[in-house]
């Protein structure tokens, strides 16, 4: 799939905080990225680094304590953070849909799967009634490889992989341009994971979708993504093409992350774990958020947070130690 030059989704300096009794959790800070038509973007990072929060911010679906405190989210040039709530409801699913992690929880247990897919169609007036949505529901289910006759079954009658595929069918209901897949394969076994990824890739090719794949599985990213955004502790660590990230990681965190993953070409290499804990988002270190765990830390890192910089053409990173020649 060719990647179109003009960005479909342009996120600029997005910051999201959670305001709670225990203080302010700075879950996402100064996050910028772009998504072009037909692009497969991988969003990686360990649990709690703000991946899901960033995606929910883009959709304006944050829980009650969440506040988008800065930034813009431009969808085809229009800042959707400025939209009225009712207008935003029309953007959701028509332009941007999301596949949630854990399909079992994202489906209502007492309503049939077909009914829940039809829900999207009826809400967006693409079908007048639930009954008349049946044809499109069947089409969508076939598209993801589920027998259309199972539309009337309930989520508990589906296997885990089928549920996930049903969620994908649901995400495609209104022909969106962007699909956010939030850890779509996390709860599934390896075989089903491969099927789901294959399906996503195929659909992306057929329908020209732009996909943001949120995951902590680097092998998945390497397989399907064009670009990769690595997050750490709510900030962008490194953002580049998939080749650049895997072949020449610049940020110390990216490097450690890659070393922590088994590599088929170097089966004897030891897996490295990153010592320490991810930062507590309500008690962040003064300087770089990764400084306490960074093997290359210098004094400057502990006092001054590094800005997001373009370190190479098309490559962004936040690290004081990266200069023009490398690290």
């Amino acid at each position: 799939m060719e990647i179109d030059a003009s960005p479909l989704l342009d996120v600029r300096h997005l910051s999201t905080h959670f305001v709670t009794d225990e203080g302010v959790f700075r879950a996402v800070e100064d996050l910028s990225f772009q998504l072009r038509r037909g692009e497969f973007l991988g969003l990686v990072g360990e649990s709690g680094c703000g991946k899901t929060t960033a995606m929910l911010s883009v959709l304006r679906l944050l829980p009650a304590a969440g506040r988008i405190v800065a930034g813009e989210v431009r969808l085809e040039g229009e800042d959707i953070l400025a939209l009225e709530a009712a207008e935003m409801r029309r953007v959701r699913w028509r332009k941007m849909s999301i596949i949630f992690q854990g399909a079992m929880n994202a489906l209502n247990p007492v309503r049939s799967v077909g009914d829940q897919i039809a829900e999207a169609l009826v809400l967006h007036e693409m079908a007048p009634t639930y009954h008349q949505a049946g044809k499109r529901v069947a089409e969508l289910l076939e598209l993801v490889g589920i027998d259309a006759a199972r539309a009337d079954q309930y989520p508990h009658q589906y296997s885990g992989g089928m549920r996930q595929r049903a969620m994908i069918a649901m995400a495609l209901a209104c022909n969106p341009q962007i699909v956010i897949a939030d850890e779509p394969t996390t709860a599934l076994d390896v075989m089903i994971q491969a099927q789901i990824l294959e399906l996503l890739e195929r659909l992306q090719g057929e329908l020209g979708l732009a996909v943001i794949l949120v995951t902590h599985d680097l092998s998945v990213v390497a397989e399907v993504c064009h670009n990769v955004l690595v997050m750490y502790g709510g900030v962008l660590a490194e953002y580049a093409t998939v080749d650049a990230i895997y072949n020449e990681p610049l940020h110390p965190y990216t490097r450690l992350l890659l070393e922590a993953f088994p590599d088929l070409s170097r089966p004897d290499a030891r897996l490295v774990s990153i010592p320490g804990q991810p930062p507590r988002l309500n008690a962040l270190p003064a300087g770089c958020r990764f400084a306490p765990r960074c093997p290359m830390v210098i004094d400057r890192c502990r006092v001054e947070a590094p800005p997001v910089r373009q370190v190479r053409p098309g490559r962004w990173a936040t690290c004081h130690r990266i200069d023009e020649e490398g690290v």
Binding site: R90, R92, W93, R94, S97, N108, L123, D147, A149, Q157
Partner: protein
């Protein structure tokens, strides 16, 4: 593409929603003998109330000629449950009395369910200031002693059948509201609600299609329990002389018997019959309500602790059991 063929036959998913719900209900009562007993008891009461004119040996409204021997006459072939202070057949009054008890019970509970369900859903789902205000209102209704308030209101507005239904219904919704609110609070945090929001759904849509269907069974179970309380309230009011004077009810029968010398006349039948009627219906509703609630309320479920024995059906075990 990856799918196995769709199962057909007994597991065919297209057998219709209503029929499946009914089948689930039947199997539920099969598993619970107490619930089944309650259901039968309630069915019998409903049957008596519906067909009262045909079942009752005498018409209670008929004016009759009474001699002194007819007053508090002992049970006989002519009057199976004896006669009351007016020389009328107790059995007939008893059968007709079930109508008022059940009518008040069901209608008042329906009112309670509507008010409680509405307050609970709004308070739980929307929360915030409105929710807080509604829950404080619920607390106020909860701490006011119901009976004195009922007596005061009925004394003020007059003891007609519909006034009594309204008063009982308006004072009986607090439990339902609290339960529905708790359920709505937990349901709205579920991920399928977030998914519906991501689909572009508004609050009302989510409430109607995602929250309400999951709360409804609990509300129904709760309502059946409220019925028994409503019947008790009605009987209490009637016994205290605040019942509708133009209709026959069990509470009213007790009141007449109590105030017009049934005890000194040793006419136990005039007291026992309506008393047992009240106990019968209240017990039936409680049994049915408990069974439904156990099945629907996730907090009361304990499947995993039961039926462990039936889990293993290996041949060796069957052999061992002979």
């Amino acid at each position: 593409m990856y799918e196995t063929p769709v199962p057909r036959g007994p597991l065919d998913p297209r057998s219709g929603r209503g029929r499946r719900a009914l089948a689930a209900l039947i199997s539920l009562f099969r598993r619970s003998p107490l619930g089944l007993i309650g259901m039968l008891m309630l069915g019998l009461a409903l049957f008596a109330a519906t067909f009262a004119p045909w079942l009752a040996p005498y018409d209670p409204d008929e004016s009759i000629h009474v001699t002194i021997d007819d007053i508090y006459a002992r049970p006989s072939a002519e009057h199976l449950l004896g006669t009351d202070d007016g020389g009328k057949d107790v059995l007939s009054a008893f059968i007709f009395g079930s109508r008022v008890s059940l009518l008040v019970g069901f209608s008042a509970s329906l009112i309670s369910m509507v008010i409680g369900g509405f307050v609970g859903l709004v308070a739980g789902f929307y929360g915030g200031r409105i929710g807080n205000a509604l829950m404080r209102l619920t607390d106020i209704f909860l701490v006011i002693p119901d009976l004195p308030l009922m007596i005061v209101i009925v004394a003020m507005v007059g003891p007609s059948l519909w006034n009594i239904i309204l008063v009982i219904g308006i004072l009986g919704w607090t439990g339902t509201a609290r339960m529905v609110r708790a359920q709505a609070l937990s349901l709205k945090e579920r991920q399928f609600v977030l998914r519906a929001r991501a689909l572009g759904a508004g609050n009302f849509h989510i409430l109607r299609r995602h929250i309400f269907p999951l709360v409804l069974p609990l509300m129904v179970a709760n309502t059946v329990l409220v019925i028994s309380l409503s019947i008790l309230s009605e009987s209490t009011l009637s016994f205290l002389g605040l019942g509708d004077p133009t209709t026959l009810s069990w509470g009213g029968m007790l009141n007449f018997a109590f105030t017009r010398g049934a005890i000194s006349a040793r006419a136990w039948w005039a007291l026992i019959a309506p008393g047992l009627g009240i106990v019968w219906v209240v017990l039936a509703c409680t049994l049915v309500g408990n069974t439904l609630e156990e099945a629907f309320n996730p907090r009361l479920q304990s499947h995993h602790l039961q039926g462990d024995d039936k889990m293993i059906v290996s041949p060796s075990r069957l052999k061992a059991e002979g």
